[in-house]
Symmetry: C2
Subunit: 535 residues, 2 copies
């Protein structure tokens, strides 16, 4: 494939912002012009992905098709480029057995020098995890093969290639295809780089594969770029970094960073950064408890939108320890963000004089007073409130609804507590100094809602908890299966019950960046009302 | 079809509670014994529906199959009955083009006198609105026809018959089928009774149709019974009411109650009643503002779980009018529920002295102080907090997140404001007295968060707003399409923008009973981050 030079356009589309998206495409085409022959963009790059049920609206399809027609016309400015661009297109409703309301295809159009060469519609529509493609799109029926410089080039889209036994792969081989180009909307998870290469190599049959991905955050998903080219023999000859831009050649292939704290941290930063920028929010506020979750959230926010746009607020109650306030203050100083200290004793006392509360209710009261204070600042200063809960506590409901769970975005909601510590240690190491106070990392976790409280009064040790949660949630393991791996039955059954009981709280939780195979949110759809497995 | 006597078992399953569900099946079989020849239960009656991603767990499938085997054995007690019962069953994963993780069929087993006659697996899997069947189930491939008393009887499940051009219907006709029995999980919406009959009549081809539905609430869905039998000529010869039980004959056919306040009210009552009972909650608390939304929510709660289990709390601020408190008190007295009055001035003043707030933030503050108070009572007394927002305000974001939007269940979240008034008037008429104070119905709606405020300071008249919202939401209409119907473009575009802006709040909203074709919740999946149509 030496002859055809390929450019990978990693663009960061905003759903429904055609002007913005088309401008990015044009800018990257200018960069590619003269450098390469063929440019491949990500899945639905022109309209943004995922669209969800916006794909039911005829106007979004019409506007996409108009934007595409404009770009085809503009492509005369780059006559030597052949372009593959993802977009929605109008479809006649699918056959009735596939009962859904979709009126759009998930397409990619090949065009060059003002002319459309062909359109491909995604054939294999994922309907698992966060994906609703079967709901939102009509599957395509036809392969697309075109010629460029005497080579046969085919197009597939994302899920199409995630099946090693696909008849499509065999058809493309039989047709003598030299190169398969694949626009993708492939979200970051911690093991995804290896999985993508495994999928591409399993699918290829004597043809090279050019895999192009989006780059940027969209609600709970982060697309991490990582476009790559593998030759006919499966050897990777090109890899793009986790960055927006047009990538045409790499000096050397960057390292695979599966399960790597640097890449995980970057995904969390990009997820928050793009949620802010795409929803036109430039400032955030968060409560700083002196603990590790709010500390990590604060450094993520500072990296995402700049420390000057971050306000950390310490909200000590009568139960807060002096080291907590000191740690919060120290963190803000190291990060360089704004800091305020607002003791909550006055409303705390006034609610207590107004109401007779149980011990649990008294604990929740403090978390809710903090929320009221933070939302007052959020509303007054137009600051996005961040919720700083981690995946372990969200899993078992160890949080106060309308209290610490409140916020517009939850940067570490899909990071287990043990990984919060891992990231915090890595962050300090990478900076060569303790931006996050060492005591925030080393002290016993506590909500400090009553004297001497620690998380382990109510929960197993986090290492054990996280091990069990990974199995129950990400592997959909049954209690029996987890017990079979050597865990205590009572412990596992109790954790399973806590996870079920907390579903109503999670159903009202803020979105946050998906980092694992199965994140709470749109990837996990379970009833609130169920007695299955009830103790 | 005179010869075969049919019983419709409208059971109210709890997801995953096999003991409870099997006991209901057995009780209804006892009632049918001797009365009829053939008994049909609803879709997934044995395990509950919808299961969501619980269907991925091998243990729920195994336990369902065990419960089914036990019931088949028990059926020897009723040797003259032939039984059609819905349940999940294990499946080999579907072919790869239909990319999903499902490992279960959505099945119905026919059995009699201890023996299995056959199993049918649902073929047409809906993937629109609230339905995720394509995600959660493997489609069946085979029709099932069995003989009873010399007649040929076929089985289909729910969505299978919602296609008048179905090849399945033709196959059944060609096979000479006399009767089609259809287990359904068909949720209530306001026009559903007519739609069901239209679907059944469009599908039937010279065979009678016995349509059996579930009855009861499951999270946001209410199944409203309404099982029916239509003969070969499409004439309805039997109809079951909106009630649990075994229905074998009707004295006279009950009225179709499409778009009827009585039936809508009943659906709201059942939705809340079953959410409480199935999650083991016996008491509720809600704020009573003196307005119509909280008044209607209060009477729904009183009808659902008994007035003695309902606590209404008036939480006057310095801006509350005296008539508001009087109306709240009057309502509680008429309903016979518990009532408390807790002025919020003290925490209100303490927050104001602690924080400098914008005007909007000051308004939200009051709503959040009320939430903190109500959640304090909720946590202390184990009372489910009800959120009393209506669909109109939820649509345009006219509510305070972590304030009045807070709660475990929102009984009227899918009822437009104009329909709230309609229901309130109907309720008073049906009771022959003004349980809901007339002034709560007739006064101008106001959040009373600043002096002299009314909803129409910020919103169009509700009749106009609701007309536009029905088009934008339930019809997925574009702004152009709504304008084409004669509405003002600026108004429609502003409403469309408000709906989009409020998505982040809705994504954190409480569940509540679906009553319309498209309810906010799992039936409407749109991105939070989008600039499509942005003004």
């Amino acid at each position: 494939m030496q002859e055809i030079r390929i450019g990978f356009g990693q663009i960061n589309p905003v759903v429904g912002d055609f002007e913005h998206n088309a401008a990015q495409v044009l800018k990257q085409l200018s960069q590619a012009d003269g450098e390469v022959d063929l440019v491949v963009f990500g899945e639905l790059a022109l309209c943004g992905y995922p669209l969800g049920d916006l794909s039911y609206r005829s106007d979004i399809i019409e506007k996409t098709e108009q934007a595409l027609a404009d770009l085809v016309a503009e492509s005369k400015r780059f006559p030597s480029l052949t372009i593959v661009l993802g977009h929605v297109s109008s479809a006649t409703r699918r056959d009735v057995k596939q009962s859904a309301f979709a009126i759009a295809h998930n397409s990619a159009t090949v065009f060059s020098n003002g002319k459309v060469i062909g359109r491909y519609d995604k054939q294999r529509l994922p309907t698992y995890d966060v994906f609703d493609d079967w709901r939102n799109f009509v599957p395509g029926e036809q392969d697309l093969i075109f010629e460029l410089q005497g080579k046969k080039i085919a197009v597939a889209i994302c899920e199409d290639i995630w099946d090693s036994a696909s008849p499509q792969a065999q058809r493309l081989k039989d047709a003598g295809v030299d190169l398969l180009v694949v626009p993708n909307g492939s979200p970051y998870t911690r093991a995804k780089q290896s999985e993508r290469r495994f999928a591409a190599r399993s699918f290829q049959k004597d043809f090279a594969v050019a895999y192009a991905n989006l780059c940027g955050g969209q609600d709970e998903l982060v697309f991490d770029g990582d476009s790559f080219l593998i030759d006919k023999d499966g050897k990777e000859v090109f890899r793009a970094p986790f960055a927006e831009g047009m990538f045409t050649k790499s000096e050397e292939i960057v390292e695979i960073l599966d399960d790597n704290p640097e890449k995980l941290f970057q995904a969390l930063v990009v997820g928050l950064r793009d949620y802010c920028s795409k929803t036109n929010q430039s400032k955030v506020v968060l409560g700083l408890s002196g603990g590790i979750d709010s500390a990590l959230s604060c450094v993520i926010a500072a990296e995402a939108i700049g420390p000057k746009n971050v306000l950390g607020v310490a909200l000590p109650s009568r139960f807060s320890s002096s080291h907590s306030i000191a740690d919060a203050k120290e963190l803000a100083s190291q990060v360089g963000c704004e800091f305020r200290e607002i003791p909550i004793e006055q409303p705390h006392a006034s609610f207590e004089s107004m109401l007779t509360l149980s011990e649990l209710a008294k604990e929740n009261l403090q978390a809710r007073i903090r929320m009221v204070t933070l939302m007052g600042i959020s509303n007054t200063d137009n600051r996005l409130l961040l919720s700083t809960g981690n995946k372990s506590e969200i899993a078992v409901g160890y949080s106060t609804i309308y209290g610490d769970s409140a916020g517009g975005f939850a940067p570490i909601k899909d990071v287990f507590k043990t990984d919060v510590w891992w990231l915090a240690r890595w962050y300090n190491e990478s900076k060569g100094k303790s931006i996050i106070p060492v005591s925030s990392i080393t002290k016993a976790p506590s909500a400090e809602l009553r004297p001497g409280q620690t998380d382990q009064d109510s929960l197993p040790e986090y290492q054990l908890l996280d091990d069990v949660l990974r199995l129950l949630i990400e592997k959909s393991a049954t209690v029996d299966e987890v017990v079979g791996l050597g865990f205590d039955r009572t412990l596992v059954a109790e954790i399973d019950e806590k996870v079920r009981q907390a579903q109503w709280k999670r159903s009202q939780g803020a979105i946050g960046t998906k980092t694992t195979q199965l994140a709470f949110g749109s990837g996990r759809r379970v009833p609130i009302t169920t007695r299955f497995g009830k103790l």
